[in-house]
Symmetry: C4
Subunit: 233 residues, 4 copies
């Protein structure tokens, strides 16, 4: 009677990568994996210890209504944020949310992560933006859903296929990609470039973003039709 074993398995495996890469502490953080064709996504249950979690604990939720389609546990409290992003950013398959420490520092400082070098260019096509602060009304009503909305608002003029991460102000990063494993890889890359950026700004508070030309070279060396990094598949 389990119709979403594949989705739950990918979601489970991706969630386990979070503590392996030290991207989360305690029970913070979660990964979801969606299937637009079936109109659902699987997500980590709320507040469950990573060491105890089983694939079947993943909760399957309707992308349209948010109702639980399969699963016995409560889904992550951040589920409405994931749902909002799946609706708004067509084509993303997985979302990872962490409280990784350097990325959180930028979110708490209210600063985007500037693109200061090729490590950044290899993953994100420009500065990783930070959202505006949420209003009291947004916080008091449908908080987690509105968290999704401030992200969508921030991406009004940004292509979510080119910048696959955002910092929610005073909170932390949400990152997306074409699979559970890739979303977590991008979350790890984000934490690495955040640490590098912080140290760069310590050495040179006026460090300039890389020239557009270098950004373009590196990003499209790894992404899109003309990429030449890695092996032919």
């Amino acid at each position: 009677m389990c119709h979403y074993a594949d989705l739950k398995s990918e979601c489970f495996e991706a969630n386990l990568l979070l503590p392996q890469h030290k991207l989360i502490d305690l029970t913070f953080g979660n990964v979801s994996v969606g299937d637009a064709a079936r109109g659902v996504f699987a997500i980590k249950p709320s507040g469950v210890d990573y060491a105890q979690m089983k694939p079947d604990d993943m909760v399957v939720v309707s992308m349209e209504t948010g109702e639980i389609v399969e699963g016995k546990l409560r889904p992550s409290s951040d589920t409405p944020t994931h749902r909002r992003l799946f609706q708004a950013f067509a084509g993303i398959r997985s979302i990872a949310h962490t409280h990784s420490r350097n990325a959180v520092a930028f979110a708490q400082a209210g600063r985007g992560i500037p693109c200061l070098g090729t490590t950044h260019c290899d993953y994100f096509y420009g500065e990783v933006p930070v959202t505006r602060a949420m209003t009291d009304e947004e916080v008091q009503t449908a908080y987690e859903w509105e968290t999704g909305n401030v992200i969508v608002e921030r991406f009004a003029e940004i292509d979510p296929r080119e910048i696959t991460a955002v910092l929610v102000k005073n909170h932390g990063p949400f990152v997306w990609g074409p699979s559970g494993a890739k979303a977590v890889e991008y979350a790890l890359a984000l934490e690495i470039v955040a640490e590098m950026a912080m140290k760069t700004l310590q050495l040179n508070p006026n460090a300039e973003p890389v020239p557009a030309c270098l950004l373009k070279k590196h990003f499209f060396r790894k992404h899109g039709a003309d990429c030449y990094y890695g092996q032919v598949r």
Copy 2:
């Protein structure tokens, strides 16, 4: 003839969590677990190596008089501080004391840890305060007992159920919770938010605390009657 095997066992397990979470180095740090009904608490023995320690090494002390009720070893030299807190903060069951490095840095700098993001809000309902410096007289007389007193003084207008941690100036954190495991979890959360706060202040020395509304939302999402984080128990 061992009347407190349960208390000693919980206390022993909680103490072992300190090196596991890298909250302590060498023999610094200790956890106590109290039982208000029986008027006693168990605490780590003084200066004993974590690797050698056995459950039966825990020392059981009277909450009222400080006398050893059960145990062959000397209790932690910080025992009077724990005893003072058990007396003053009714309802706390366990206290963890660490020298975790980022929290100590705030204590040594004489600064509280400001509440700069939701990771903090999830655990502590506002800034984690720092005590005033102790007077020479306090240091020279009953030093460890007076350490408890400056904490109690600092909490004159703070509810110890909402802010479950304090920084003793020039020393380090004391953290409390409803069980040995929870007290250590909160000590770990404190170290994490201290690291995030330090990095945030490096990126933005004028970073503002989160709005009251967001703090309330996150804290009460996890604590109290209306919480909706985690699973129904």
Copy 3:
């Protein structure tokens, strides 16, 4: 039909040292090992996971033409940079490229790593220099080859046997040595002195480089005909 088993084996072993020393994350970084007599070098394949890699996956490339001499996979996208360095710096046998975080921070800040202490002197005979920014034309044409050229240009008046590392601006370090293992050891030493230098500059923004006399003493205690560090071989 494998003519370069020795080279591929040394290259493979040296590449595995990168994750062991935590010098790389994800699939960043690569090591090459050259043989001037045979006019070739072996290098890591592009974008292959370190955990999956086998010695026979190493790609053997002509130093003169850049053509693949042996191997089924694409070589690292940084291959032309390595090739340029093998041509220009006679006598180097192995090159390691990493994105180690503290060295990258200096590269992104556009600052060389000043020689502030004896740990640095033991490995590098003076400041580790940073290249100039590359022009748009250099980036848009033969980017990786031109990366080699800006390094060579920076070493116009530096002896690559005395300073065995460079920071490519907005990118990261390239390091070389007499064997695969030594190139990686020097890359590790570079990351260590970068971390020490960053922390030194935090404590004292005006910290001065060590006197010439001390630099000479330490470097030649370990390198060259009059060295007296280590065992007689």
Copy 4:
């Protein structure tokens, strides 16, 4: 024909603690263990990999003349520094030298490690001093012996039983204690307080040393005739 098996064994074990505590990288660092009655000390051989080292590789050296009394390998190049300290600081039994990163940062910055909190007080009775820069003549003649001399000069008015560590300017820490294990423990404590001090100064550049009264309380709680920390032995 081995007369110093005990000394070599203690020295070997203490040296192995350095990488275990992550106090050294590569082959930096060394520990010696002395026996004043027999007028000798055992020390690590020069440039030998910690993973390959055997107890019998330790080199036994005369305290008075510096001649090798027992052992087939070259002693550490820092041997004359150790010898100078054994001569000058009567009563110390073991010396540890590391390049631990935070302590080195203070040495490179030319700053002593101020006593900012009780973690420091528990180990060192006041600021850990930094030496003056060495003169060209000192460096060019008997460099390692003169390194010992600048340390001794710095301690003209400091009791080496109360401050058991020093930072050699532009170099790093030397630490001593009553046994090989204790010397390494103090070297670890030094690295910890250096990290805490650096972070404290980042949060508050004007942080004040602890009051004399608190320093006295903590240091003598752990050291000397009136100590009450740990177990009665």
